[in-house]
């Protein structure tokens, strides 16, 4: 075990991990926004919209995330979409996780007892109002954990964008192999940094879950 090497690479790797954090946050924001939209489509009364939502989920869950990244980054320029690696990675990861998050959101909404919507409607609330004031606040609590699981998968999934040369944690690790020939130390440090990020995220999810658990 080359302790001196570890000491030398840690600062560089922490910097790279920060890029992973930035990438994760951007994809998460995009993913949540798209997921909310796709979940709305999935829950729509209009069959065509439901179909569109289902198609989105099938496509993005039914193909490897790596291929989605390649398609956008390498295939994009051919159809006029020119993105730098970081942007392509963030967008592809965000669109991918959105499919999973949409299902978490939809699951939360569907887990709220049907009687809640009916009681709201019986008071005279419209469908949108009932959703907003009665169903969604209850569904939100039920979504926190599944969305947390999705977010953890996203953080770990960011490693894939090393393949399109985004200078994040995994890419940085690979670059150090050639100059040091110490893959064990390098990947051990990398793994520990991923674990710290995932652990931090898990703590955050726990806190959110407890904060919103509240009454009932």
């Amino acid at each position: 075990m080359d302790i001196a090497l570890i000491g030398r690479i840690v600062p560089v790797f922490v910097q790279a991990a920060w890029t992973t954090v930035e990438l994760s946050l951007l994809s998460l924001a995009l993913g949540l926004a798209v997921a909310a939209l796709v979940a709305m489509l999935r829950l729509s009364h209009v069959a065509a919209l439901r179909f569109a939502g289902a198609a989105y989920v099938s496509v993005f869950r039914g193909t490897p995330a790596l291929i989605q990244i390649f398609l956008l980054y390498f295939g994009g320029p051919q159809v006029g979409i020119q993105l730098d690696p970081f942007a392509a990675g963030a967008i592809a990861l965000g669109l991918n996780i959105a499919a999973y998050m949409a299902e978490s959101i939809r699951g939360g909404v569907l887990s709220v007892d049907r009687g809640q919507m009916e009681a709201a409607r019986s008071l005279g609330f419209g469908e949108g109002q009932s959703m907003r004031w009665i169903v969604l606040p209850q569904a939100a609590k039920l979504m926190i954990r599944p969305l947390g699981v999705n977010a953890v998968a996203l953080v770990k999934g960011t490693a894939l964008v090393a393949t399109i040369s985004v200078v994040e944690l995994t890419y940085t690790a690979q670059r150090f192999i050639g100059s040091t020939y110490k893959p064990f130390e390098i990947f051990a440090v990398t793994a520990v940094l991923y674990m710290i990020m995932v652990y931090g995220l898990t703590l955050l999810v726990d806190r959110l879950d407890r904060a919103y658990a509240g009454e009932a």
Binding site: E118, A119, S122, F125, P137, Q138, A216
Partner: protein, 254 residues
């Protein structure tokens, strides 16, 4: 009361669930201030009928009228939304399983509709909630959450929530059948009190004794049709139809 127009009128109500005909052409009306109890075996369509009155179920045929306004009138989607939300504000509905909003306090459960739908000021709405809770004997629970209440208390809050919209009619769908026996009376008492205040009510119930005590008229339903209706005295003491007799006998023996 010189307004003789019925408060609720149902004409030729038909409803299918897939191939199953659940309402086979139902006619009945409820006069202003009248209390109608609907009884009948499980699966006979009582809930479906009640839910059709405020359009929680969409009828496949027939008409429902509330105070001279057709509830299920043909309008384009947007206009109908607006229309039905307005109509529902005038009808209170009480469900078997209470359906209180668990994320809201008792006060908020009661005030959310007056505040959001009628634009009532918060302080005024809270005063209203207190008044309604007083009516159902739960003023001290105003800041509790539903999870902390007993079944009977939950149902009384649900009644207060419906009353806070100052509805013209109240619809009860087996309001006490999910309750432990010792909690039934406190809810029945509230309903009797409403009756004494001349609230127009349609009460679906399996409690024959309560129906006899509180109702002006009893409707016996079976297999999606009204078999017989009359005053409680007529229907319970002297049922004309064999179907009614056998149902009541089973009930009294069971």
């Amino acid at each position: 009361m010189n307004d003789t127009r019925p408060m609720i009128e149902v004409r030729g109500a038909r409803k299918f669930f897939g191939p199953l005909e659940v309402l086979k052409g139902i006619d009945f009306s409820v006069a202003r201030g009248q209390i109608v109890a609907v009884i009948g075996p499980s699966g006979s369509g009582k809930s479906t009928l009640l839910r059709s009155i405020n359009h929680l179920e969409t009828l496949d045929g027939g008409e429902v009228w509330l105070d001279g306004v057709q509830v299920n009138q043909k309008l384009d989607r947007r206009s109908f939304e607006r229309h039905i939300n307005g109509v529902r504000q005038q009808m209170g509905m009480v469900f078997q399983h209470f359906n209180l909003f668990p994320h809201l306090s008792v006060a908020e459960n009661i005030t959310i509709a007056p505040i959001k739908l009628k634009g009532m000021a918060k302080a005024e709405a809270r005063a209203l909630a207190l008044k309604m809770l007083d009516k159902v004997g739960l003023a001290d629970k105003i800041d509790a959450f539903p999870a902390r209440l007993s079944g009977g208390q939950k149902q009384r809050v649900a009644i207060a929530r419906a009353l806070a919209m100052q509805p013209k009619v109240m619809l009860f769908d087996e309001a006490t059948s999910a309750l432990d026996p010792e909690l039934v009376d406190e809810v029945n008492l509230v309903m009797k009190q409403l009756a004494s205040e001349h609230m127009t009510m349609v009460i679906v119930t399996h409690e024959m004794r309560f129906a006899a005590e509180v109702a002006d008229r009893v409707i016996f339903m079976a297999d999606g049709a009204v078999v017989e209706e009359g005053s409680p005295a007529e229907l319970f003491r002297n049922p004309k139809q064999e179907r009614t007799r056998s149902f009541l006998k089973k009930f009294l023996n069971g």
